[in-house]
Amino acid sequence: MLLVSESAPTPHEAQAALAEANSQAVRVRHADHQLGWIVLGIAAMYLAVGALMSTLPDPRRAGPVVGPAILAIMIVGLVGLVFVGLRIRAYSRTAILMYFGGIAAFNLWNAIVFGVSIATRWFALTQPSYHFGISVVVAVIPLLVVAWLILRR
């Protein structure tokens, strides 16, 4: 398959070469999707912990079962993320910027959500457990947005 001749390519050959360049770019964008799945995995771990906390009668006194359950969620999640991370064989600059930008935005937004939740007594002893779950759902928004941005490319 000759895309570009050694001397002067014809317009048709030039178009074929441009199409080839485009198809290679599409392949890299597909490879980027693995970063999107890692972000979704982090969000899923966080939501699972939030859901667990929401089901407790008093999340502030979690008890002996919840601690190991949260630890198990984190370990299984981390093993999965490392597995996906090791399988990544190509990534674009845009996707890696989105990935680290998304993690940074999540950390900042998560701190704000939990800071406001404590300051407004949303997490007070008199409040129901599902308040933890609602805060977690709000906090995880940046991760979901970034995962969507990466996966739709």
């Binding site: 570009v4 002067a8 390519p9 048709h12 090791l86 190509a90 990534y91």
Partner: protein
């Protein structure tokens, strides 16, 4: 006005080297086996063409380990990126020539 073919890069005119460069242009880093699978060439062919691009200063090769497995990562250098951009711009101009012939002004 000179013909756009003069702006073409001889090194990138080779179809395999062009495909490798196109893949690396879209990526920040690409593993050797990923490039081999997607450009559809053998290991030796890819090594040979990557060496030529590396000698020209267009491609950077990084070797590392993930656990006990060796991995080779490829990326375009700044010069490689510029050369590919110039080459593609020239190809676009040449391709545009056909469009203007195909649809003459009425």
């Amino acid at each position: 006005m000179s013909h756009p073919r003069h702006a073409l890069d001889d090194l990138l005119a080779h179809p395999v080297r062009f495909s490798i460069s196109a893949l690396l242009f879209a990526a920040s880093k690409v593993e050797f086996s990923f490039a081999r699978d997607h450009v559809e060439v053998t290991d030796s062919m890819l090594s040979k063409q990557v060496s030529l691009l590396e000698q020209a200063g267009y491609v950077k090769v990084d070797k590392g380990f993930v656990g006990k497995r060796g991995r080779t990562w490829l990326s375009l250098t700044r010069d490689g990126r510029r050369a590919f951009e110039r080459h593609v711009a020239a190809l676009r101009e040449i391709a545009a020539g056909e469009n203007s012939l195909a649809s003459p002004a009425r």
